[in-house]
Structures are given as C-alpha cells and as structure tokens.
C-alpha cells in the first residue's frame, strides 16, 4: 500500500493548483453539486447494466455477470503529451512487427546476439508452424494494446505490450458513450478528440490486410470462443459495430480451400478472421487436438494464403515478459533509433546476478511470472506480508527463469469520485493501435484502468480495478 500524496497526480499540483489539461474540467467540477454527481455515478452503473457490458468471472455461475466499475471523472491528457506518446507507440509497434517477421524468417537479431537464442528456442509462445510464413500484407499484429504507466510530468513507461488479442476496447468506446450521455455540456465546453471511429478503422485496417486472392468485397468475421468467454460482450460488440458476423468454431468449415461460415443459404467464404481465440485453440489439427473452439485445418488455409488471421498466430513471442526486457534493443535494432518510450528496468531472474539482487530486495520489488497475465501469480513486495514474501521466495528459487522483477513504480494518480469528494487513485493506460500494411492508426486515448482501493497499485478488473474515460484534448 502507498501513501498517495507522494505520487504524481495528473490533476492536482502539490501547491494546491491543478495541471493545465484539467483547467476547464476543474472549473466545471467546482461549480457542480457533489450529490448530483454521485447520482450521475449511479445512473452510469444502471446504463452499463442495461447495455450488458459485463464480464463473466471464470469459475463462477453464468448468472454472475460482473460489471467493471466505472468512475465518472475523466482522465485528461493534453494534445501535446499525446502526440509525443503516439510517436513512441508507433515506433514500438513497427519494431514489434519487424521483430516478428525476423524471428520467423532469418533471425538476424539472434545472429547479431542482441537477443539470446534460448529465449526463443525454449519459449512456448514461439510457433514453429509460422517459420518461413509471411502473413498477407506483412502485418503480424493488426491490433496491439500498449500498457503505459506514468510516474512524472514527462515520465512514461511501457509496462507491457499486448500483441496477441488485447481486450478492453469496448470499454474505451462505451465509457465515452456513457460520458456523452451524462455530461453533454462538458463536451461542448471542452474539445476532446473522438474515439468513436475505432470500429470503422478496425474494419478498414483488417480489410486492408486481406489475402491477395480476395474478391473485391472482403468478408471479415470475428471468431469468439463463445458466450461463456469472459470477453464475449466485447466480441459481440465489435462484430456489431463493424457490421460483420460473430462466428464460433462450429460455424466454420474448410470448403474448397477457403474458410467458410455456415449461413442460412449455405457456406460462404471468409477472407479475414479477427480471432479472439488463443493460438493453442485455433486449429485442433495443427495445435491442441482437444480444442473445440477452433477450426480444423485453418492453419493450412492460412499457410496457403487463403485467409488472414488477425493477429497472426505466434505473435505471443513479442509480448512475452522475458522478451520485454529486450525491447529497447529490439526497437533500436529494427528502427535504427533510440526507443522513444522507456521500458521499466527489469531483472531477469534466470540470470544469477539478477536473481541475487531480487532476493535481496524482494520487499521493494514487483515480481511477475514470465507468462502470467491478469495480475495473477504476482508479488507486490511493498504490500506483501512477511509470510507471503517467504512463500514467494521459495517459489522464485525453485524456478527463477520463470520470473522477472521490476521496481515498484510510483504510478501516477488521477482523482476518482468518492462519497467524500475527489480522492487520488493509481492508474495505467492502454492505448489501442491498429496496424494495416499501409498505415498505423492510434485511437486518441485508450482504456484507463484505475485501482479503486486507496493506495492499491493493482488496476486489473479481476482484482478490484475500475475504468475511466480517457480524454485527449484537441491541440
């Protein structure tokens, strides 16, 4: 736990004033009645329930659809701050795609000794099926989520890259929709860059990556594991917004060398499959034979150039936490420039010196599993009890290569609305990046996740995190 006053707050300055991006918002806020705003907060919850923006919690009954709490105070970023961020994000995403192409072809970066061979060779995220295969348009990661944290006026760090199937974009869109409904007057006073064209951009971007043999009209479809998946709402939402079909594995079949979907008028071909199913489950013939979620043979069609799979299988090798620590090198290797966005300093516990340091400083560090996600299996040193530290030490020593450690970052805070008024809480930011063969599009803003518990640094929705609308101001 932390005393939030020691942290960089994005709204208020230590001297009692506020930072410039919040000028107009602060003026508006101080003219509002707290009780009215509390009521708006409740309205927002009703609005979300009604829309059905819920997520299923694994292992709980279907009836337990949970709502990710929404806070009505926006997180505001100036246009200038944002353009700097986008340059860094674009550079990083280009490097990730170049890295993926290289790692599945000539592996120059390994030959140059910039990334150790065993990190790739012994990594489950590396798919041998992708070796020598070039995806249509050369795009590996059509959709990327880059998780950013801020610690000071000019200090942004990339916490994690999400190059497989990043989620959360539906919250970005619905959060804005909710704010527009609740506070229309705010949007007339403050010029906020729009996010609503994300679905159109997504469709355009996916269609631009279609296979060469695709007819004039490309058919895009979203592949979901099904109604019980925790992100089903998002899958349905995106299909709906793009005006394309939402398919499951059992709707699909390979007919005449194309992946086809069963329609009321027979089978119809699909050109681009935006899949929200993990690599392992994509094709029971090529990966996990017990998978009921995928399409038998889809990889063969893919290799023959009959379909675009977005994101490409095997992209996980680029967002692996062990690879992450090499990202500054990777960016430099492929772009010839220094990385604009900083990495969080990372100790790879598989290295003896690093492990020794981590064991000595366990109570100050955050230790993560290399392949973990969702904030599970993670140690937050400063918040852990002696017992938890001891237990984690044993786990770490048993399998050091399975972990990385990072300093506990002084995550910036943004106020949330509580019963007593505004109170600072820690946040992170996930901007969403679309990659097409001809361009990279970054939606202004992204998903701000906020740790609702006072002092908590864990923003994951599965562990008490909420979300906020993220405003990027017009310059």
């Amino acid at each position: 736990m932390s005393d939030t006053s020691r942290f960089f707050d994005e709204m208020s300055r230590a001297d009692g004033g506020h930072r410039p991006p919040y000028d107009a918002y602060s003026a508006w806020f101080h003219g509002e009645d707290l009780r009215d705003l509390r009521k708006k907060s409740e309205d927002a919850e009703r609005f979300f329930r009604r829309t059905g923006i819920t997520f299923n919690v694994y292992g709980q009954a279907e009836a337990d659809e949970r709502l990710i709490p929404f806070d009505i105070v926006p997180r505001i970023i100036s246009g200038r701050e944002w353009s700097r961020l986008t340059r860094g994000i674009e550079q990083r995403v280009r490097a990730i795609n170049a890295f993926l192409h290289d790692i599945y072809h000539r592996q120059e970066i390994l030959r140059a000794g910039r990334v150790p061979v065993e990190l790739i060779a012994r990594n489950d995220a590396f798919l041998p099926q992708m070796i020598g295969m070039s995806p249509p348009g050369g795009v590996y990661t059509h959709i990327v989520g880059v998780d950013l944290v801020r610690t000071g006026e000019d200090d942004f760090y990339v916490l994690e890259d999400n190059a497989r199937t990043p989620s959360g974009v539906s919250y970005m869109l619905e959060n804005r929709e909710t704010m527009l409904q609740m506070f229309p007057e705010l949007f007339t006073r403050i010029k906020v860059q729009p996010v609503q064209d994300y679905p159109v951009n997504l469709h355009r971007s996916l269609a631009a990556s279609a296979p060469a043999n695709c007819s004039d009209h490309c058919t895009v479809a979203v592949l979901t594991p099904g109604i019980h998946n925790s992100a089903y709402f998002e899958h349905a939402f995106l299909a709906d917004q793009m005006g394309v079909e939402l398919v499951e594995g059992h709707d699909l079949r390979i007919v005449g060398g194309k992946v086809q979907m069963r329609t009321t008028q027979g089978y119809r071909p699909i050109d681009v499959l935006y899949r929200r199913v993990d690599d392992d489950f994509l094709d029971p013939m090529n990966f996990r034979p017990d998978s009921m979620l995928g399409v038998p043979g889809v990889m063969d069609v893919y290799r023959a150039g009959g379909i675009t799979i977005a994101n490409a299988p095997g992209t996980g090798i680029a967002d692996d936490k062990a690879i992450y620590s090499y990202m500054p090198d990777i960016v430099e290797f492929y772009t010839g420039e220094k990385a604009i966005l900083q990495n969080v300093p990372t100790w790879r516990c598989g290295e003896a010196d690093a492990l020794a340091y981590v064991l000595d400083h366990l109570s100050e560090l955050v230790v993560k599993e290399v392949h973990g996600s969702g904030g599970y299996g993670m140690l937050v040193g400063p918040a852990a009890s002696k017992k938890e530290l001891a237990a984690f030490r044993t786990k770490l020593m048993a399998k050091p290569a399975n972990y990385i450690a990072q300093p506990t970052l002084a995550l910036s805070t943004v106020p949330i609305l509580t019963k007593a008024g505004l109170a600072p809480r820690h946040v992170d930011l996930r901007p969403f990046v679309l990659v097409a063969p001809d361009r990279i599009t970054i939606t202004p803003g992204g998903l701000t996740r906020v740790a609702l518990k006072k002092g908590s640094l864990v923003v994951n929705s599965s562990q008490g995190g909420g979300t906020k609308d993220t405003w990027v101001l017009e310059e």
């Binding site: 349905a236 709906d240 499951e248 059992h250 709707d251």
Partner: protein
C-alpha cells in the same frame, strides 16, 4: 446470416412468446380461482397441462395447490417454461445473436430480464400477483415495440417472426387441446355455470374475452369459441392468424434467398387446411383429432425450418 444466428433469433422469440403466454395462463387461472364459489384447485391442473408442464409439477409436488402452481409457473427454475426460465432463455439467445438485433431490442430484453429477476427473486404473494403479471405484460410489449420500431424488415426479422408465431400457434392449439371436451356440443350442457366458467378460461388464456364478445354481441357458445380460436383471421392468437404469419414470413425468405425448401410445402398444406376448413367439418371429423394433428404438424414444421435454414449444421 449465420445459421446459428437464425436459430438464436427463432428461439429467442419463441421463448419471449412463451413467457407471455405462461403469464396469460396464470392470469386466467388466478381470475377463475377468484370468481369461483367452490375453492377447489382443479383449474390449476388444467393450466399446468396447457403449459405442458403438469408432469414436471407432479415430479416435484404430490398435490395441486394454487400457491405452488403459481410459483411453479412463474419462477421455478426446474420448469423450463416458467416465466423466469423462458425470459432467461430468451436473453441467453439474445446475447448469442447480439449482432443481429438492434441495441434497443437487446436493451429491452436485458432490462426485462433484470427487472423480472429482481421482482421474482422471492415467491409472489396473491396480493402482488396482479401487479407482477401486469409488469410482465408491459415488458413483453416493450420488447415487441422495440422490435417493430427499430429492426430492418429482412431475413433477421423473418426468423424472429417465425419463432413468435410457431410458438403462438402451438400455445393456442394446446389450450384447445386441454379444453376440447368443454367445447364439444354433445357433452356440454349449454348455459350451465360450469361451462360458462370454462369458456371464460379459454378466452382469457388467449386474451380474447373482450374481442369475442365484441364480435358475437355477447352470445357465448362452444362452437363459436372454437371457430374464433381456429379460423378467425382477425384474432391475433388464432391458429389461422398464426399460420398465416408463418406462411408470409417463409414466403419472404423464399423470395429473399431464391430458395424453396420442404418447409414451404409443409406450410402450404397446413395453410390450406385452415383456409378451406370450416368449424362444422372440424366437429364432424373430431375436434380432438384435428388439434392433435395440428400440433404434430406444427412441431414437424419447426424441425423442418431448423434443417432448411441450417440452424445447427
């Protein structure tokens, strides 16, 4: 459209129709119980039979009892046709076909589910029952309104309508099936108070009380009621009306897709029987036999539609 989506829409609207019809049956049963001098609960047995869940009820309870029967029909999770189960199934299907329905329709269904889940969390007392039933009726109207007001008139709409009217044809036929003996001229003692009550139950179950009286100037007789529910194309819950709608929507699909299926032949046969039939002929050949055949035809048609439009594979 995906075959799975067509199936999801079809079932979503079958379940919505079913929830409304079950609510209507409860309303009819409750009304009869209130207006009858002898307080026996037999009427509930026939209500349960009409909803086709009597066997399930008796697996759970030994005796018929008004409060239990109401609870079983309204909110019992082990009864797949209870109002709550049907609404939950409709919403589950709506989630499945979320991309095919408008936001308004989805929100109306989701809203209905959330409101009823809260309202039906505990048993409903007799005192609150009328209000709860009215609420269910209002919510159904809301969903229907959202559908008519916001959805494109394309194949999506056709599958919704097919689900609605197949379920309705089945439900109305079932009411007639359970009560057919009351309508037989040979057995009924015309004008007895018992029969009046039974006839009233039938008409109330299909919300046709007022309409029937209006058309017949207050004259109530069994043949007239049977004619009204089977052949009257003006009555929105009659067999003729429901079958007409099924034929129309299958026809739209035929035109939209340019594909004629076995289900088109089946509906032609069912339609012809209703267009050319008369109530006298039905009574001559046997009302019970007529209804039994009709129910079997409708069930077969449902399966054929499922195959023709690839709901499952």
């Amino acid at each position: 459209m995906l075959g799975k989506t067509a199936g999801g829409l079809f079932w979503m609207f079958r379940y919505l129709e079913r929830s409304e019809n079950t609510a209507r049956l409860i309303e009819a049963g409750f009304r009869i119980a209130l207006t009858r001098a002898d307080g026996d609960d037999d009427e509930w047995t026939s209500v349960l039979q009409t909803a086709a869940v009597a066997h399930l009820y008796f697996q759970k309870y030994e005796q018929i009892e008004a409060a239990r029967a109401i609870d079983f029909l309204l909110r019992d999770a082990t009864n797949p046709s209870s109002v709550m189960s049907a609404i939950a199934a409709a919403r589950q299907n709506a989630r499945l076909v979320r991309t095919a329905i408008t936001r308004e329709v989805w929100e109306a269904v989701n809203d209905t589910y959330m409101i009823l889940k809260q309202t039906l969390a505990r048993p409903v007392s007799a005192r609150d029952l009328p209000e709860v039933l009215a609420l269910i009726r209002q919510q159904s109207a809301l969903v229907r309104g959202a559908m008519h007001g916001t959805m494109l008139r394309n194949d999506i709409f056709d599958f919704c309508r097919l689900g609605t009217f197949l379920e309705r044809a089945d439900n109305t036929a079932r009411i007639l099936d359970v009560k057919y003996y009351v309508l037989l001229p040979s057995i009924s003692q015309i004008g007895s108070s018992l029969d009046n009550v039974q006839w009233e139950t039938i008409l109330r179950s299909v919300a046709g009380m007022r309409a029937y009286r209006w058309i017949n100037q207050g004259e109530t007789n069994p043949k007239g009621i049977a004619d009204f529910l089977i052949f009257d194309g003006r009555m929105p819950r009659s067999l003729a009306f429901s079958v007409g709608k099924i034929a129309t929507n299958l026809g739209y699909l035929d035109r939209a897709y340019g594909l004629r299926h076995p289900s088109h032949d089946q509906i032609d046969v069912i339609s012809a029987r209703l267009t050319h039939g008369t109530i006298d002929r039905v009574f001559e050949d046997g009302l019970h036999e007529f209804i039994t055949d009709f129910l079997a035809d409708i069930a077969r048609l449902g399966q054929q539609i499922e195959t023709d439009y690839r709901f499952l594979g």
